[in-house]
């Protein structure tokens, strides 16, 4: 059979499948296999004696996880950071989009300025804020006494440290909300807004009944993407506090990194990683269900 005949036999669905095959193989090798292997690790005990050995350990790692005070601490820290940071970023982002959408002089300049923090790496942001939060040499604690305010242990006070981390996250990622919401705002037909204004809709009513409902799809996407990202937060915390003081700022990913890669307890590290995956999945599904329901109500 000549090459031409072989090629000509690959037509229609067959050819489609053949062309998809390399991509499927790469996906299986690089994504699905590591995912399933990590899942398998959560039920195993890893030993490197005489080569890599993984023995079945049943639910041992999961039982250990659910009895581990550090797990609950890391979970609650992570969820708290996600809820407050994403909510604040959304509210601020939405407000700034409304401001930027007005024909104010220099709005293009401010648009670029607002996007700058998002372009920095989280490690650089971590170091920058760590310097600013420094109690003896940082700019913030230098300025506070000049204003008659007390010096704050931004990264050393257990009750404050999470809010300091949230502040840095809001500073860096509010621009992301602006970016998505601004794109959503731009897609609202100007005629619709003009018509509403002609019908006598004021600023607040215009926002509540026209702009906000039309921004819901963009809002859902922005909030969901940010929530998934914040739930995996590690880099800024690693630089700012290392999870301290104590374990008051330890996030799930940092907890998993400490146990899995610093202590090299791979099976337990994988279990922590999967518990985070389950958390992200559950929160995403709940969020999508709620927003779908609210969209249905709005349409009704």
């Amino acid at each position: 059979m000549s090459m031409r005949n072989i090629l000509s036999s690959f037509t229609g669905k067959k050819a489609g499948r053949a062309f998809l095959l390399p991509a499927v193989i790469i996906l299986l090798a690089l994504t699905i296999f590591p995912f399933l292997f990590s899942l398998f690790l959560t039920f195993g005990k890893v030993s490197f004696l005489g080569g890599l050995q993984i023995n079945y350990a049943g639910l041992k790692n999961w039982i250990r996880l659910f009895g581990d005070e550090r797990f609950y601490n890391a979970l609650s820290n992570t969820v708290l950071i996600a809820v407050i940071a994403v909510a604040s970023e959304y509210v601020l982002g939405l407000g700034l989009v409304l401001l930027l959408s007005t024909k104010v002089k220099g709005s293009t300049f401010f648009r670029v300025l607002f996007f700058l923090p998002m372009m920095l790496t989280p490690i650089a942001v971590g170091y920058m804020w760590r310097m600013m939060f420094n109690p003896t040499r940082g700019v913030i604690d230098h300025v506070l006494p000049l204003l008659g305010l007390p010096v704050v242990g931004w990264l050393t006070e257990p009750k404050i440290v999470l809010y300091s981390i949230i502040l840095t996250d809001i500073w860096q990622w509010t621009p992301f909300m602006i970016l998505i919401l601004f794109a959503g705002f731009q897609s609202i037909p100007p005629a619709l807004l003009e018509a509403a204004k002609v019908d006598g809709a004021s600023g607040w009513r215009l926002f509540r009944e026209i702009i906000f409902p039309l921004l819901i799809p963009a809002s859902v996407a922005a909030i969901l993407l940010r929530t998934i990202e914040v739930l995996k937060i590690v880099d800024k915390i690693y630089i700012l506090t290392g999870g301290g003081p104590g374990i008051y700022s330890e996030s799930m990913t940092l907890f998993g990194y400490s146990l899995g890669l610093r202590a090299f307890d791979l099976a337990y590290g994988a279990t922590i990683a999967f518990s985070l995956f389950a958390t992200v999945l559950a929160i995403s599904i709940i969020f999508l269900l709620i927003t779908r329901r609210s969209q249905e109500i709005t349409l009704e």
């Binding site: 080569g51 109690p135 050393t156 506090t241 290392g242 301290g244 003081p245």
Partner: protein, 503 residues
């Protein structure tokens, strides 16, 4: 005439022949010498270590010289600190042969050597006069680079914690008078941790150096996930180590029971928690890198660190304390907990137990490497007395002195920028050569134990747990780790690491 001419011609011919012979001989010798020197022509060795500058810099400094001399090639691969252990371990365990040489923290040696990942180096060292093995100080030669009686690594760095104090603060007569009036004894470089506490309290929160800014008592690395647990052991070693007794710092060498919650450790942790009050604000979030810069900025009277505070204070152009720093062995205690008798032992003088925190960086060879000869040759070149002296007296190499010759030649230290190198080197030598010096933990899973302890220490420092609660928690976790790794095996490893009979 003929005779004369013939003789002259003969002489000329003989001279030409001899010249040719000489040229040929020199050529032959030269080419054979060249062949001998280019003994690793075409061989490429891969070195894996920490991201530059620290630790990788010496490889960068000397690889071109070695390549020129041997014809070999050195490929340098680096990774950040946190990725060193997993990458090294997985390469060895999976037989990937990713690296011929690893330059790594001595704390990993037991993990690697007990799993037979590393090539034994005894025979190489025995026939290598260039490395001058006897010049390396015994504690590094016999303990840090050795596991169960076999040499697995070439010492590259000497690491131990030492104590720093501000001479100008302590030697000030006005301060001395005020201190005596308040505490009832003379202000002097502290000999015990109790004195450290008093001096830290005395110098905390006022401008004692007249620079118009407030200074503080002490600066120590306490940050979670950094090097705080080493500072803790530096403080607890003297409370738990009795001269002549098998190490009481980590485990009971008879039973493998953790000793981490013994009263000696609890007392040390209580002392350490109290230091937060007398320390530079934010000390709880400082790693040792920040300790160095804070101390060099003149913010604290005392500090605990490896040799680096000394280096930064005297050689960094931004330092405000150049020439003002005093160095000493770690302070001690007047009592220590006897883990065998389960009681406190009082000492008539001071019990010092300097601690070889971390133990330094060492270089070893993958047992499965295809280029063991060339790899050893490069390690020997890098760690030779001459090259290692350049390393320990060059900024940003991260290497501290570990050879007798490093302490004897002061010229390089003055050239480095030290004002009182004899004091600096004297304190290091006193630490390393001390009869009660305590090596770091060197058993498989060392960093699992450290990680568990680190989290508990952080909770105690943050006030979430008492010292006792935190160390009880650490002991519980240490027992679980030991069980997980195999108690019998860990006991054998621990005894081997201490040089005790295994059976």
């Amino acid at each position: 005439m003929f005779k004369k001419t013939g003789k002259s011609k003969l002489l000329k011919e003989a001279a030409v022949i001899m010249l040719c012979a000489a040229v040929m001989l020199v050529g032959t010798l030269g080419s054979s010498l060249a062949l001998a020197e280019k003994r690793f022509e075409g061989v490429e060795i891969t070195v894996f270590t920490q991201t530059p500058p620290f630790i990788a810099k010496p490889v960068q400094m000397f690889r071109a010289d070695w390549e020129r001399e041997t014809g070999g090639k050195v490929r340098l691969i680096t990774a950040p600190w946190g990725e060193l252990y997993p990458k090294m371990f997985s390469s060895f365990a999976l037989g990937a042969k990713n690296y011929d040489i690893i330059i790594f923290p001595a704390a990993y040696l037991a993990d690697f050597a007990s799993n037979e990942f590393l090539a034994p180096l005894d025979s190489f060292i025995a026939r290598d006069p260039k490395i001058d093995w006897g010049d390396i100080l015994p504690v590094y030669r016999e303990k840090i680079s050795t596991y169960a009686g076999t040499i697995y690594a070439v010492t590259m760095d000497g690491d131990s914690h030492m104590f720093y104090y501000r001479r100008d603060a302590i030697e000030n007569p006005e301060h001395q008078a005020k201190f005596k009036a308040k505490y009832g004894y003379d202000l002097a470089p502290p000999k015990t941790w109790v004195e450290v506490r008093d001096i830290a309290e005395f110098f905390n929160g006022w401008d004692w150096d007249g620079d118009g800014r407030k200074e503080y008592g002490v600066v120590e690395g306490m940050r979670k996930g950094a090097q705080g647990f080493w500072t803790f052991f530096s403080r607890s070693a003297a409370y738990t180590s009795i001269p002549g007794q098998a190490q009481g710092l980590f485990f009971d060498p008879e039973t493998m029971k953790p000793l981490i919650n013994d009263p000696g450790h609890v007392r040390a942790l209580e002392d350490w928690i109290e230091m937060i009050e007398f320390g530079v604000p934010g000390m709880i979030n400082m790693d040792n890198g920040e300790v160095r810069s804070v101390y060099a900025a003149g913010e604290a009277a005392m500090a605990i660190d490896w040799g680096d505070v000394g280096v930064v204070s005297d050689t960094d152009p931004g330092s405000t304390v150049k020439g003002k720093v005093g160095y000493s062995i770690l302070p001690g205690t007047t009592k220590a907990w006897d883990y065998v008798k389960k009681s406190w032992v009082d000492f008539p003088g001071v019990n010092h137990a300097p601690y070889l925190a971390f133990g330094g960086w060492i270089g070893a060879i993958d047992a499965k490497s295809d280029n063991v000869e060339a790899a050893y040759d490069f390690l020997s070149f890098l760690g030779s007395p001459e090259n290692s002296y350049i390393c320990v007296t060059t900024p940003n190499t991260g290497f501290n002195p570990y050879r007798k010759s490093h302490f004897e030649k002061l010229a390089g230290w003055y050239g480095y920028g030290f004002v009182h190198p004899e004091d600096y080197l004297g304190a290091i030598e006193a630490t390393i050569a001390h009869s009660n010096v305590q090596p770091d933990i060197r058993i498989p899973g060392a960093f699992r134990y450290f990680e568990a302890l680190d989290a508990q220490l952080a909770m105690a420092l943050a006030g979430a747990k008492t010292a006792k609660q935190a160390l009880d928690g650490a002991a519980k976790e240490w027992e679980a780790i030991t069980e997980d790794l195999g108690k019998e095996k860990q006991l054998k490893n621990y005894r081997a690491s201490l040089g005790l009979p295994i059976e």
